[in-house]
């Protein structure tokens, strides 16, 4: 059945070629969507057996030197990631056809964009089924370059070119580290095959720890862990909404996939590795969520929240590592299953949130919290979808984010670590997770409240409404998925089950889940009650008396006097001042009778990025100068990137296609 998965590659490439060839945007979209649909069906057929614990699928054939032999191997882990990555990309492409409509109306050709979306799917198939380091790197690089080209869709804007360049550099720094790790492995094994890597890594050796750290760094850069996250908020706020959604929800999960792939290759980890992963995840979750609390740009906010969520997943994986190292099978299964499920859940609600943010951008041409307000009345559907996504993001019951966090909590709080001090560390991690959840609720409340509730803050913004069906339908599907995965976690857990079965520990997922079944039923009961309340209140009180908001005695309140985003987070930011440096720019009137008008502006910078630029010497100037050296006609850069991509692909396949 692996051939069914690999067959999707030519289908996707054909789709990409067609999308480039068609002059009409509608036809290009149809080509991309139909080929992605076909390949998603191929892939799902191929992996259906795997997630239920079927044997891994292998395929290999000889290839001319220096590669020697190309091997593909798809196991439950790859199957899990493939099972949702391609459908999610398909939804993103459908969304794109609606989102980019205003650009198409101005005569922009969307063919390359659709072709690149197909290439993203190609890269998933390559990465998730590779058994050879070169195939893996090929997929890795296709994903990186295609994502860069997708980010700079609006390339006329210098800021967006800069964000794209920033991403490109960061992702290649990660690539160098990865290549270094592979070279190290190659020098020891004289092979590029993962099976040979596995044989070497399973033995204790001094190189093992080094390789673990190199790989960890590279994958952390890919998944935007703190402190390697600086490219992420820029890229996410610059890219079109569907690209941000796919990058955050799907593409960057490749980093965590690769981490798990090498975990399985490496075999039983050492204890320090577990603590490293747990601490690293906790650090990411903590800082990611802190930064969400002060952002003005919704998409930047969601970007930081990705750093938070991969951190939560990594906390799960760290727990899994520790359980494996300590020989406590239930901990290992809890951790890995919780982390994997959280990745799936995150893909659902984060894509949903980015799509909703895109709908806001389409309607108002801004995603600045301080200028929006009152959109729930003009865009009721988008508001509802954003709210569901936001509640899921905060891990609140009965939505899907809750279930995966509970799974991780149940491991952290189980008290089954071998020593008391280890238990204390795990409970402390649980308390940190609780903090992260609460701050995430603060950010969700702030973002949703300022954008959708209250009154419009800026009357000069255009007054658009809910988006068209092509944008709405992916959102509705994702929202339904988030609710379904929350109410029936068995669905998500069934996908994860095969992967946990790959762990050589004597415990299975059903065994770990048994104590949680009562909690899941309690959540369902809560959901049913809330559903009844919703039904009752939907009709009740619609025709009730209406009056102005109580102004506490003040009668001339205006929308400009509403609470702002910065005042909302002011007290919180003050408590965590050490981590959230604020920059104040002010000119206060000093005369007794001020003649000149003063101003005051506060801004929260990314501490890591600031420090990084300081180290670079000339601060932001340096990077702006560098990016201004990119040719003035970036269309050439765009075209050159595309051509390079195809030439490399053609060379690799042309030199040794076996049939």
């Amino acid at each position: 059945m692996l051939i069914s998965v690999l067959l999707s590659l030519p289908v996707l490439l054909c789709g990409a070629a067609l999308a480039l060839a068609f002059r009409s945007n509608r036809a290009a979209a149809a080509a991309a969507i139909s080929t992605q649909l076909v390949s998603a069906v191929f892939v799902l057929r191929g992996v259906a057996g795997l997630v239920h614990g079927g044997p891994a699928l292998e395929l290999s054939w000889p290839w001319p030197l220096p590669i020697g032999r190309i091997a593909f191997r798809l196991d439950a882990l790859g199957g899990f990631f493939l099972s949702w990555s391609l459908p999610m990309t398909l939804l993103g492409t459908v969304y794109a056809s609606g989102y980019l409509h205003s650009y198409f109306a101005k005569g922009r050709h969307g063919g390359p964009h659709y072709a690149l979306l197909n290439l993203i799917s190609v890269s998933f198939v390559l990465i998730y089924s590779a058994q050879n380091a070169l195939v893996f790197l090929l997929g890795w690089e296709i994903a990186a370059v295609a994502a860069w080209l997708l980010v700079i869709w609006d390339y006329q804007n210098q800021k967006i070119r800069f964000a794209g360049f920033n991403y490109l550099v960061s992702t290649h720094v990660g690539l160098f580290v990865l290549v270094a790790a592979f070279m190290l492995l190659h020098s020891r094994t004289k092979s590029m095959d993962f099976a040979d890597f596995s044989r070497f890594l399973a033995q204790p050796s001094p190189a093992r720890g080094t390789i673990f750290l190199l790989l960890g760094t590279s994958f952390a850069l890919k998944s935007a862990f703190f402190p390697f996250h600086t490219w992420l908020p820029r890229a996410h706020s610059a890219a079109p909404a569907h690209v941000s959604a796919l990058m955050s929800g799907v593409i960057h999960k490749a980093g965590l996939f690769a981490f798990l792939r090498f975990t399985l290759l490496m075999g039983r980890p050492e204890e320090w590795m577990g603590f490293t992963v747990l601490a690293f995840g906790a650090l990411s979750a903590f800082f990611g969520v802190l930064y969400t609390s002060t952002q003005r740009d919704i998409k930047r906010l969601l970007g930081y929240s990705s750093t938070e969520n991969v951190g939560i997943a990594a906390m799960g994986f760290g727990l899994g590592y520790l359980g494996w190292a300590w020989d406590v099978p239930t901990l290992a299964v809890c951790g890995f299953a919780g982390g994997l499920l959280h990745l799936l859940n995150h893909a659902f609600f984060k894509c949903l949130l980015f799509y909703a943010a895109g709908a806001v951008y389409r309607a108002t041409h801004t995603v600045d919290l301080e200028r929006l307000g009152g959109l729930a009345k003009r865009m009721p559907l988008t508001a509802t979808l954003f709210l569901v996504g936001g509640l899921a993001l905060s891990g609140l019951p009965p939505l899907n984010g809750f279930i995966s966090e509970v799974l991780i909590y149940s491991g952290l709080l189980s008290g089954s670590a071998p020593s008391a001090s280890n238990n204390v560390a795990l409970v402390a991690a649980a308390a940190l997770l609780a903090f992260v959840g609460a701050v995430s609720a603060l950010s969700t409340t702030r973002a949703f409240g300022l954008v959708f509730l209250g009154n419009p803050r800026d009357p000069s913004l255009p007054a658009g409404g809910d988006p068209p069906l092509s944008m709405l339908s992916p959102m509705v599907l994702l929202c339904a998925g988030a609710v379904l995965l929350g109410l029936a976690p068995e669905v998500g857990l069934a996908l994860v089950r095969g992967t946990t079965a790959l762990l050589p520990v004597h415990s299975s997922l059903p065994e770990v889940l048994r104590p949680l079944s009562a909690l899941i039923w309690a959540t369902r009961a809560l959901a049913a009650t809330l559903g009844l309340v919703l039904l009752a209140r939907f009709w009740q009180g619609r025709s009730a008396r209406r009056a102005a908001t109580w102004g506490c005695g003040y009668t001339a309140a205006s929308p400009r006097m509403q609470y702002t985003g910065s005042s909302f987070s002011a007290q919180f930011a003050q408590i965590f001042e050490a981590f959230l440096p604020a920059v104040w720019r002010k000119r206060l009137p000093d005369e007794i009778f001020p003649q000149r008008s003063g101003h005051l502006a506060s801004h929260h910078h990314d501490a890591v990025e600031r420090r990084m630029f300081e180290v670079l010497g000339q601060g932001e100037d340096f990077v702006t100068q560098t990016s201004s050296r990119i040719p003035e006609q970036p269309r050439f850069a765009f075209a050159a990137g595309l051509v390079a991509l195809f030439v490399i692909g053609a060379l690799v396949f042309g030199t040794g296609w076996p049939w």
Binding site: G373, G374, A376, K377, P380, L387, L391, S394, L396, V406, Y409, S410, L413, S414, G415, S419, A420, S421, V424, A428, A430, A431, A434, F435, G437, A438, A441, L442, T444, T445, F448, G449, L450, L453, G454, P515, L516, A518, L519, A522, L526, L530, V533, R537, Q540, G541, A544, R546, A547, A548, T549, W550, C552, A557, Q562, Y563, S567, F568, Q571, F572
Partner: protein, 306 residues
């Protein structure tokens, strides 16, 4: 039997405890004070009223008070209101408890923002900020209690244990401190919040309910009363020497101790002035620290045990 007693307690005690707090405050102030079941009379009065909604608000505003009430009842279901045998007990019910509580809080905060009033925005921002410090404190304490008792359920973990040599006395003391602070913050009591202040600028919890009226306001008041009872009874269980076994003595002791907690809350409220808003996070940090001490003490305990 346990089921019916729990339901009865949930129906009666929230009204009684809030009445008791107000009675204690009146006595300290030299007044006679309102009847003990004043909240019940208020409830009947509010039920008859027709609500008025702000023109700015949406469906969310009508929804939030009732969701808040449902979540308060949900959290009451897993709390050992009478010292043992709660309505529901399952592994990791305290995680469920904390998140259900958070859901109600988030909805109420959103309803506050829904009105577009800057006063309510102020209250919402404060509530959100304080809750970020409160949640980890709650998890530190429940985590420590679970490690100490080797169980994963709130009703078992709260059963007191007072050995001096193995450090469980320290765990117990710290847990009581933290839970008391959690109770004060979550139910908007002095010195964190003044439920009777007339100045919207300094309110936290009350300001979020400014625009609610009629039955909606009742839902919020009832929800807050239930939350107060949940907190007080959890604290009472931790203080109750007969907790953990279902007996008449234990039930009576738990009710008495819950009332005692209400009396202490009322006394604190009468004798202490409200903290400056800037100092509230420091007060919560005391709870956080004592939670951390409780957690660290579990390591000592297990290391010291044979």
């Amino acid at each position: 039997m346990a089921f019916i007693s729990n339901l009865l307690a949930l129906l009666v005690m929230p009204f009684f405890l809030l009445g008791l707090v107000n009675r204690v405050k009146s006595l300290w102030a030299g007044r006679r004070g309102p009847p003990l079941f004043q909240l019940a009379y208020d409830a009947l009065r509010l039920l008859r009223k027709i609500p008025v909604y702000s023109t700015t608000t949406t469906l969310l505003f009508r929804l939030a008070p009732w969701v808040f009430l449902v979540t308060a009842c949900g959290s009451a279901a897993v709390t050992p209101l009478l010292g043992s045998r709660p309505l529901l007990a399952f592994p990791f019910d305290f995680v469920w408890f904390a998140y259900v509580w958070a859901l109600g809080r988030v909805l109420l905060m959103l309803a506050g923002l829904d009105t577009g009033s800057s006063f309510e925005g102020m209250g919402v921002a404060r509530e959100a900020t304080f809750s970020t410090l409160l949640e980890p404190a709650l998890f530190l304490v429940t985590g420590a209690l679970c490690l100490r008792s080797g169980t994963h359920s709130l009703s078992r973990a709260l059963v007191p244990e007072l050995g001096v040599r193995d450090g469980s006395l320290l765990i117990w003391l710290c847990s009581v401190t933290t839970l008391f602070i959690v109770l004060q913050v979550e139910t908007a009591r002095m010195p964190v919040d003044d439920p009777t202040t007339h100045l919207e600028l300094t309110m936290v919890h009350e300001v979020m309910a400014l625009d609610h009226s009629g039955p909606d306001l009742l839902a919020i008041q009832l929800g807050s009363a239930i939350k107060f009872y949940v907190g007080a009874s959890a604290l009472a269980t931790l203080l109750n020497p007969w907790a953990g076994t279902w007996s008449a003595v234990s039930v009576v002791a738990n009710c008495t101790l819950s009332s005692l907690v209400a009396v202490i809350v009322g006394t604190v409220e009468s004798l202490i002035a409200r903290l400056k808003l800037r100092s509230v996070p420091k007060y919560i940090a005391v709870g956080l620290t004592s939670g951390a001490v409780a957690l660290l003490a579990t390591a000592w305990r297990t290391a010291g045990a044979p």
